[in-house]
Symmetry: C3
Subunit: 113 residues, 3 copies
């Protein structure tokens, strides 16, 4: 029950979008017990986004996790996601934030886990 | 002081949008002490959203609550919101996530509660 | 390592956007240890947003902070951000929410802090 939302200020073609969502489906296994089978992915290209005061290419990746995971797992996911956005979109890792939040309250199929 | 943001990958006509925001104004009373009078609603139609690796119709509903509520209240809200999106947008409840977060720090009218 | 995302239902011209992101770079110093040097800003104009059941001009400001800050600092930031959006976009402060969340897990440059 994770949700990964990617905001970036660069354009993302349809092929790139599919490549990114599929790679995230593999990368999410860095969090124990999480797989693409329960992953929702959002992509927001061409956002109005600034980092350090400039609108040079950048991304904000927001990872929401039901129940949470430990710090090392999050760290591993940051590495994978940053490498992915560098490869697919040419973003510099030092222009990418990956922030995490966990919650005990998460609904699916009309009920909460 | 709740905020409900709905991201979906299907189009939502203007009439449907109004119906959804009005229904959410009623549904929010599932959380004790919350009413439309303090509710902000965001709708993001035609998002780039994938669930379980596919872009079949889906939605991510993000509910932020000042101070929080108990698990049973959240569970009741999930049921109402899922039924609403099924009715108005034809989404299957097993393609809808409703995630909750609470915070003690919330500003309105230039000051925090 | 803060991220400030501003959703509003009014249009925001390019000049206004730059003015807002620059002012947020100054305002963020209301949180101890935070500067524009580590600030990411997102702006989403012309959102579909309702408050108290109406789509009159409004804004939802989402402030995410690595490690968090104390309640007084958040309160100060709410005052500054509300005044900024009133001045630049003509929004009434009683139509602006500023919500805060903190997290211990935040990635940058391929690794977590």
């Amino acid at each position: 029950m994770p949700f990964i939302n990617v905001k970036t200020n660069v354009p993302v073609g349809s092929d790139k979008e599919k490549a990114i969502k599929s790679a995230l489906g593999r990368d999410i296994t860095a969090l124990p017990g999480k797989t693409e089978n329960w992953l929702m992915v959002g992509l927001e290209p061409e956002c109005h986004l600034w980092f350090k005061g400039t609108d040079e290419p950048a991304a904000l990746v927001d990872v929401s996790v039901y129940g949470g995971a430990d710090a090392d797992a999050y760290r591993a996911l940051t590495g994978k996601v940053s490498a992915l956005l560098a490869e697919e979109l040419g973003l510099k890792p030092d222009r990418i934030y990956v922030k995490y939040s966990s919650t005990p309250d998460w609904g699916w199929n009309g009920d909460n886990f």
